[in-house]
Symmetry: C2
Subunit: 154 residues, 2 copies
């Protein structure tokens, strides 16, 4: 994983929003705790989608003392800060995705159980179609579509 890339650039956030998260917490009167540090380390690696349970498990690997409630509370907080968002996967569980990533939806194959991302280019077709036909403003990051992937629908 990419280590701490300290960029002195004044212009753009050097690497990712995660870098100045401690500051952002402070700015809101919140604290930078070991538990949150652990969660964020995990999130940085997981760029994409993860279920809360997976996150909890990953945090436990780094810190045996991790408790679910703390993780859930931290996730709520990070969501308020706009660093993660949550939706629901094909099985209805809470599913989080980190924002530095491009906004994307998910495809779930009922054949092999794999999940893919819907790239913004592809998603645009969906977004545009619904906007044009129904005036509906799609939040692609909340979309999970089931079906069968190329390798499973013969």
């Amino acid at each position: 994983m990419p280590p701490e890339q300290k960029a002195g650039a004044t212009v753009r956030p050097a690497v990712s929003p995660w870098d100045d998260i401690a500051e952002r917490l402070h700015a809101n009167g919140l604290r930078w705790t070991p538990q949150r540090r652990t969660l964020i380390e995990v999130l940085k690696e997981q760029q994409g989608h993860v279920t809360a349970s997976e996150l909890i498990a990953s945090c436990k690997e780094r810190d045996r003392t991790t408790t679910p409630s703390t993780v859930y509370r931290a996730l709520d907080l990070l969501e308020e800060l706009g660093l993660v968002r949550h939706g629901h996967g094909h099985d209805g569980r809470e599913e989080y995705h980190v924002l530095p990533d491009q906004v994307h939806g998910h495809l779930y194959c009922v054949g092999c159980g794999t999940t893919w991302e819907i790239r913004p280019e592809t998603g645009a077709v969906i977004v545009d179609a619904l906007a044009a036909q129904l005036g509906f403003d799609v939040d692609l990051s909340h979309v999970t579509i089931s079906g069968r992937c190329a390798g499973c629908h013969d």
Copy 2:
């Protein structure tokens, strides 16, 4: 593919698949019970999408003695018979839809909480786009897309 497609104009399932359900149950060595009758009456009216909890509530209105486990088991059974299908709504709950209806997806507005159907015509754009670009065969009936409706995204 289509299992029993009665193409002939003569022999056409009179109204809906629900009509001969008792027979279909018998054909499989299953039984036609008051509880199932109640559930099916409810399903017939609800054409569209319903959560399991809503179905249970509706059944309770007709029969105070309805218990959740019975409804869940009956739904499983009806799904095996191909009369209903389930997916997950925006909040992750089990969501059922009856098949006589056209295959459709769902739109959920995070602004007003309303849910709309995605008609097959509109859905086709989504299906086609994913098929063309990723070779993914979308199951539209399993799709729930969140966003903001025309009246909420000003």
